[in-house]
């Protein structure tokens, strides 16, 4: 173990998943003189079905520990399985059962990392918490990461605003290639670990397997139901609406004159509604469960940049209404497949995250309002 020089800066609890980004984050903080304490969260049970997960597998924990050892910092494994199961996995299942398409990473950040893990930081007198997120915090504001391809602010909109002042996101100011270069330069064993875009607790990207495991037999979300067109014509059957996502084209009956897509899920009658591509176009959306990360709720008419999915470029839009719990925005250009349950994040022109919410509905036609 390399003995680090005595830290000169405050204690930081560094979440280390065993991946390259959080490894470099911890390494940079050590180099900057912080008193770094590494932790790896165990969020779900090791299962034979999840051998090579990006996090939580034994291999990942071992990688994180080996990096911490090489940095000469203490490392602990924290068991957050119960809280993660309750706040993230249960919601994931409930959302799919309600015909929506959830993003568990948002709730993991909001509740597991930047609330529960923060409580662990309090317990060890660490004023700061660090992660390997590609995002920046400046002047108490959350900002897009420098690397446009990697920016992860889309997953961070839900955190308590007060937490921002305690967050250190060392790789947010770097591009991914720069992060890797530093990992190589430091000889970190995680330097060449491949990227993962999967949801950590979903095996092989097959989320239906998780639903099958978590839901009781015969749950409506996984029970057969009709595939219908908007005018109500039944054109086929499906094996559970939760297996379908807005915008999906696979596994739909053929025979239409034009390509058909899933345009809506209707849990009431278990229907999967299909339509032509143009039915997927949304000119605006409403959001609920909103969290603002700036002083004032944006005024009606404010120009914003709107992101409706990770790695999609934000598109210009206008705030139509906004309060503490919901907002509505109009999009300058229509967007495809705006899926309820996904997140919407609003930015200003400088890349500051104004806030975000859960998409409640897509608007195909915008309401006419008095100017």
């Amino acid at each position: 173990m390399t003995a680090s020089p005595r830290p000169t800066r405050p204690r930081v609890l560094a979440a280390m998943s065993g991946g390259v980004d959080s490894s470099v984050a911890a390494a940079l903080l050590v180099r900057q003189g912080y008193d770094v304490v590494g932790v790896t969260m165990k969020l779900f049970k090791d299962g034979g079905d999840l051998p090579d997960r990006p996090c939580c597998s034994l291999d990942s924990v071992n990688d994180a520990r080996r990096v911490a050892e090489s940095l000469g910092i203490p490392h602990y494994v924290l068991n957050l399985q119960d809280a993660f199961g309750r706040d993230v996995v249960a919601d994931f299942v409930a959302e799919y059962s309600a015909g929506r398409t959830p993003i568990p990473c948002v709730r993991c950040n909001t509740f597991t990392k930047f609330r529960d893990l923060l409580a662990k930081a309090d317990a060890i007198d660490a004023p700061f918490i660090a992660t390997g997120h590609y995002a920046r915090v400046a002047d108490g504001r959350l900002m897009r990461g420098v690397d446009d391809n990697k920016d992860q602010t889309y997953f961070l909109w839900g955190i308590e605003r007060e937490v921002l002042s305690r967050m250190i996101l060392p790789v947010g100011a770097m591009t991914k290639p720069e992060t890797r270069a530093i990992a190589r330069e430091l000889g970190l064993l995680t330097a060449e670990k491949p990227e993962s875009h999967e949801i950590c607790f979903v095996p092989d990207g097959d989320y239906a397997k998780v639903l099958e495991r978590e839901l009781p037999a015969g749950a409506p979300a996984l029970a057969p139901g009709p595939i219908v067109t908007r005018d109500g014509t039944v054109v086929g059957t499906h094996d559970g609406f939760a297996r379908y996502t807005i915008g999906q084209r696979r596994r739909l009956p053929g025979g239409s004159s034009e390509p058909m897509f899933v345009v809506a899920l209707r849990p009431e009658d278990r229907a999967v509604v299909i339509g032509p591509r143009e039915d997927l176009l949304g000119r605006g959306l409403t959001a609920e469960g909103v969290n603002w990360l700036v002083d004032a709720v944006p005024a009606v008419g404010t120009s914003v940049l709107v992101r409706i999915r990770h790695r999609a470029s934000p598109v210009p839009g206008t705030v139509l209404s906004a309060d503490d719990v919901r907002f509505e925005v109009a999009l300058e250009e229509p967007a495809y497949a705006i899926a309820p349950g996904q997140s919407v994040v609003l930015y200003d022109a400088q890349g500051v995250v104004l806030g975000g919410g859960i998409i409640a509905a897509s608007r195909r036609v915008l309401p006419v309002r008095a100017a």
């Binding site: 304490v37 790896t40 090791d46 520990r65 602990y76 494994v77 924290l78 068991n79 662990k120 317990a123």
Partner: protein, 389 residues
């Protein structure tokens, strides 16, 4: 500021190798390196040392030398007894393996494995104070169908001393084999085959100041086990593999020292444990000391403070230089809820706050004083009360 010297309060997990033990072992890592199975001079020298070590270990256990096997440690001894014993006895038509839910995983998992191989698993009830319930045992250790009874001597999480003498008698009366995991007991209580009619006993070296990777396993004459390993004829075929001569010599030394020092050691540990317990209960009146109503070994204090969690406390203690533990840790190192406290009926939130402090060779009264100050301060912080120190 120079941080204060670290405090090791985890002797139930492992102990440092004693200097006398290291000295006794050293020649066998050097000139006396021979294989005891070899017939030449080097082999004979090693054989002599191994034979002598076996005799000394046997004496320590009130046993004959042919009743002692050297193993890799407690886990292997437990597996030899439970699985090795069961696999012989099943051929005699006995199907029940009786054990307790507070056993070390080395016994519990071996019992589960026996169940997979056809055994009927019978778990004994445990009192709220962490002792196996003898009245329940009387109904479950039954003549004719009980193959094996395996109950630990001293629980590794609570220190509660189990009624092994009574259980061994019950097993004997029922015609069943009796095994006890004495990993925490050896050196604390008298572990003698002359006093208690056990058939198998597992002892671990590294809890006694011998190295990790060596243990003693007692098999009463006439008791049979199926081996876990196959190979040479070492240890009468019960434990094939070239013997770890140096570690066996070290184990003999450590066991002898533990017996010689047992009573004085008990008194000193008990004094420190009781002092810390009293001071903590005085400062934290709602703290729960697990197993307090039972006769306990003097080296373990397992305490829960409601409204805290052991994971955070262990980190905070470690970062202050104080090494403790909680229930069992899984392979990744994360803390899992204690099966021992659960079996005692401890409420989950209280069990999840459990901190085990275990005393031993490195412990001093000064450690007690420092922890008696530090622990309540960390508790106050964890409970969100600032300014209390």
């Amino acid at each position: 500021m120079v941080p204060p010297a670290p405090i090791y309060l985890d002797h139930a997990a492992t102990t440092p190798v004693r200097p006398e033990v290291l000295e006794a072992m050293t020649p066998f890592y050097g000139p006396r390196f021979g294989n005891p199975s070899s017939t030449h001079r080097w082999g004979r020298e090693a054989r002599a040392a191994l034979d002598e070590a076996r005799e000394r270990v046997a004496t320590c256990l009130g046993a004959a030398p042919d009743e002692v096997c050297f193993t890799s440690g407690g886990t292997e001894g437990d597996n030899l007894a439970v699985l090795g014993g069961w696999r012989i006895l099943r051929d005699h038509g006995k199907k029940a393996v009786v054990s307790s839910p507070i056993e070390h995983k080395a016994v519990l998992q071996a019992v589960h494995q026996a169940a997979k191989e056809g055994a009927e698993e019978r778990m004994l009830n445990v009192t709220r104070d962490g002792a196996v319930d003898l009245a329940d045992a009387a109904t479950k250790i039954t003549s004719g169908d009980t193959a094996l009874v395996s109950v630990m001597w001293i629980n590794n999480e609570t220190g509660v001393i189990q009624p092994v003498a009574e259980l061994a008698q019950m097993a004997k009366a029922a015609g069943a084999m009796f095994h006890t995991d004495a990993v925490q007991a050896f050196g604390k209580v008298v572990v003698s085959a002359k006093e208690i009619p056990f058939d198998f006993v597992a002892v671990s070296g590294h809890k006694l100041g011998a190295p990790k990777g060596i243990g003693a396993f007692y098999i009463r004459r006439g008791a049979a086990i199926e081996p876990l390993f196959f190979g040479g004829s070492q240890d009468r075929g019960r434990r094939p593999g070239t013997e770890n001569v140096a570690a066996a010599v070290g184990l003999a030394k450590a066991m002898e020292l533990a017996i010689a020092e047992r009573e004085a050691h008990w008194a000193s540990l008990e004094q420190m444990r009781d002092r810390l317990e009293a001071r903590l209960l005085e400062r934290i009146p709602d703290a729960v000391v697990h197993g307090r109503g039972s006769k306990r070994a003097p080296h373990i204090l397992n305490i829960s403070v409601p409204g805290t969690d052991s994971e955070s406390l262990l980190m905070a203690l470690d970062l202050q230089g104080v090494a403790c533990s909680s229930g069992s840790a899984c392979q990744s190192g994360s803390i899992t809820p204690s099966h021992v406290l659960a079996a005692m009926g401890v409420r989950a939130d209280v069990a999840n706050a459990a901190i085990r402090m275990s005393f031993g060779a490195l412990s001093t009264p000064a450690d007690v004083d420092r922890v008696a100050e530090l622990f309540p301060a960390l508790i106050a912080k964890a409970r969100g009360l600032s300014g209390v120190a």
